[in-house]
């Protein structure tokens, strides 16, 4: 039982870099992705115990609730609560879906889970399947990380052969088939209902909600969708107890979190640390701002989260509450670091193109609004902007937000509003002089 193990102290694995390793436990081993490596760390033992002891689903869900695990895909919805929405009794196949589609710029954490610790994800999904009564699962993997898709397929094969996936596991009547499927270049397929459409072999256009996937998901059947990192946290929680996981983090933010650090740092990459780590410490782990330059701003959780100026960033902690206090959010933990050579106008220009290009086109405010925002920013960057454009940009963005089928509309609006709010002087300079303030400063030496 999960509850008994909660009493034994959890061995917290740290590494020389100062990481706390939960989802990337195998990282310091020589063959991190191998089944043998995972087994050595106690892998698949929780699955076996829960299934053979016929642990009650409600007990497992309670343990996940205690852990304080919140969805790592961006929205931060409590995982235990989400699991309790799945219908208990259903006449037919229920599905489990893992979202490894990460395509939001700056997000690359789930890639490291599938290439360095695929078996922990498989075990996490199998435990979820047992708990929720799902017979079949799909892991939907971002198209461009093809080599990692193949690593995951190989891990599935190993798990099937070793009897951790498939029919009648451990001689019980629990069966679970898990498959890898791939995207092929569409950010919108990260949205869970678009992802489901894509699994069904359609273009990835989000569905109206409700009905939610828990009642109408893959092939119209009840489906639970979670992010890769959410599922990968489950085996550790079952092994050491929900409380031990909660204790790794801070209030409202249990556990560890993988932060994808990119942009202007010396050592870009993924860092798995305890929730609540001060930003300054995380930045130092990533080698600090590169080339001895000064920090200008950080997008803390991917472009759908508001940009934060350096002065504020330096005072905050990396957890759900810490970032909402700074009027942004943790998102998927995709920290994009910008030094003082960054032109905020050009940075926003590029992001606006992304949202315009990736809008699926179903809702008029999103389809037309993202295009309009891009065209206005494009003329500013080309030196043809007008001062009124700044209010126009904010206005269009506010009118997209909240008027669309999915949250991409809001995601597109957030950077526009926050960039202009915090760096308005830079936008004004660009419009007035027809060129970037940062470039002009550089020219003056």
């Amino acid at each position: 039982m999960a509850k008994q193990s909660a009493k034994s102290p959890a061995p917290v694995m740290t590494d020389p870099k100062g990481q706390t390793l939960v989802c990337l436990r195998t990282l310091s081993e020589s063959e991190p992705a191998a089944l043998a490596t995972y087994l050595k760390l106690g892998g698949y033992q929780s699955l076996k115990r829960l299934v053979t002891e016929k642990t009650k689903a409600t007990d497992i869900i309670t343990e996940v609730k205690i852990s304080g695990l919140r969805g790592r895909g961006g929205a931060g919805f409590p995982t235990g609560l989400k699991w309790s929405f799945m219908p208990r009794y259903f006449d037919g196949v229920k599905y489990l879906v893992c979202n490894t589609d990460e395509g939001e710029p700056g997000t690359f954490k789930d890639r490291d889970i599938i290439r360095y610790n695929p078996h922990q994800l498989i075990e996490g999904m199998a435990i979820a399947a047992y708990t929720l009564g799902a017979r079949v699962g799909y892991n939907y993997i971002h198209g461009e990380i093809w080599q990692d898709y193949e690593t995951f397929e190989a891990a599935l094969k190993e798990a099937n052969e070793a009897g951790y996936l498939g029919e009648n596991l451990f001689g019980t009547n629990f069966s679970f088939d898990l498959y890898a499927v791939h995207g092929y270049g569409a950010y919108i397929c990260g949205e869970e209902t678009a992802l489901i459409e894509s699994i069904e072999g359609k273009k990835g256009q989000p569905r109206f909600k409700p009905p939610f996937p828990a009642s109408y998901g893959v092939f119209g059947k009840p489906t639970n969708v979670n992010n890769t990192e959410s599922y990968a946290s489950i085996p550790w929680i079952m092994q050491h107890g929900g409380q031990a996981f909660a204790d790794l983090g801070v209030a409202n933010s249990g556990g560890t979190k993988l932060f994808s650090v990119s942009g202007h740092v010396e050592k870009p990459g993924n860092y798995e640390v305890n929730m609540g780590m001060p930003f300054a410490e995380l930045l130092a782990m990533a080698g600090g701002v590169w080339q001895g330059r000064k920090l200008k701003a950080v997008i803390p959780g991917g472009p759908s989260t508001a940009v934060i100026p350096a002065s504020v960033m330096e005072t905050i902690t990396m957890d759900y509450d810490g970032l909402s206090k700074a009027r942004s959010s943790l998102g998927a933990g995709s920290m994009i670091v910008m030094d003082d050579s960054t032109c905020m106008v050009k940075a926003l220009h590029r992001l606006s193109y992304f949202f315009y290009e990736e809008s699926c086109g179903q809702c008029t405010p999103c389809r037309e609004g993202t295009g309009w925002v891009y065209r206005v920013l494009d003329r500013i960057v080309k030196g043809q902007g007008k001062m009124e454009d700044l209010d126009l940009l904010t206005d269009i963005s506010k009118n997209i937000s909240g008027r669309t089928i999915c949250a991409l509309g809001e995601a597109a609006a957030t950077p526009v509003i926050s960039f202009i709010k915090h760096f308005r002087a830079e936008f004004e300079y660009y419009i007035e002089h027809g060129k970037s303030m940062v470039d002009s400063k550089a020219e003056q030496g």
Binding site: G106, R111, E144, Y184, G185, V261, S262
Partner: protein, 157 residues
């Protein structure tokens, strides 16, 4: 006609879905055909539609929705460079300029010898390795410098 090599791979993908949900394998089928033939012609899409047993229009809808499918020839090597924010901050522009100069093409053009095509891509979910590029959708090269690009291109015959 789809070759046995192709149908064998599509059949494997079909095992992942219920028997009455063959359409679910269309994304893989298109990927497999494109990998084999370089790009997706009208005819290729019709063949996929026939094999899977779904309307041609539904196959085309999928093929035109996802960025990694090519509905026109892309030369022997399609090089996609990410220019999104994290890559941009690490000078993907320099890599793009270098490639344009070296291959003598702009984005979406095929080089005169039919060998290379350059594409601008959105985030590839690998921003820690920026700047980066993918050759023919499936082989990623990270931490690029102009010299590293040269070395990679020299290998492509």
């Amino acid at each position: 006609m789809l070759s046995p090599q192709i149908t064998e791979k599509i059949d494997y993908e079909l095992t992942k879905y219920p028997a009455d949900q063959r359409q679910a394998a269309v994304m893989s089928a298109l990927r497999i055909v494109q990998t084999e033939r370089g790009w997706l012609s009208q005819e290729s899409m019709s063949e996929v539609a026939a094999y899977i047993g779904m309307p041609e229009i539904a196959v085309m809808e999928v093929a035109s929705f996802y960025n990694m499918y090519d509905l026109a020839p892309v030369g022997k090597y399609k090089i996609s460079v990410c220019t999104n924010i994290s890559c941009m901050l690490r000078n993907s522009d320099e890599i793009v300029d270098h490639l344009k100069h070296k291959l003598g093409v702009e984005f979406n053009q095929v080089s005169a010898d039919g060998k290379f095509c350059l594409k601008e891509a959105e985030c590839m979910g690998a921003c820690g390795g920026a700047p980066l590029m993918i050759i023919n959708n499936h082989s990623m090269h990270e931490f690029l410098t102009p010299a590293k690009v040269d070395a990679i291109l020299d290998e492509l015959k």
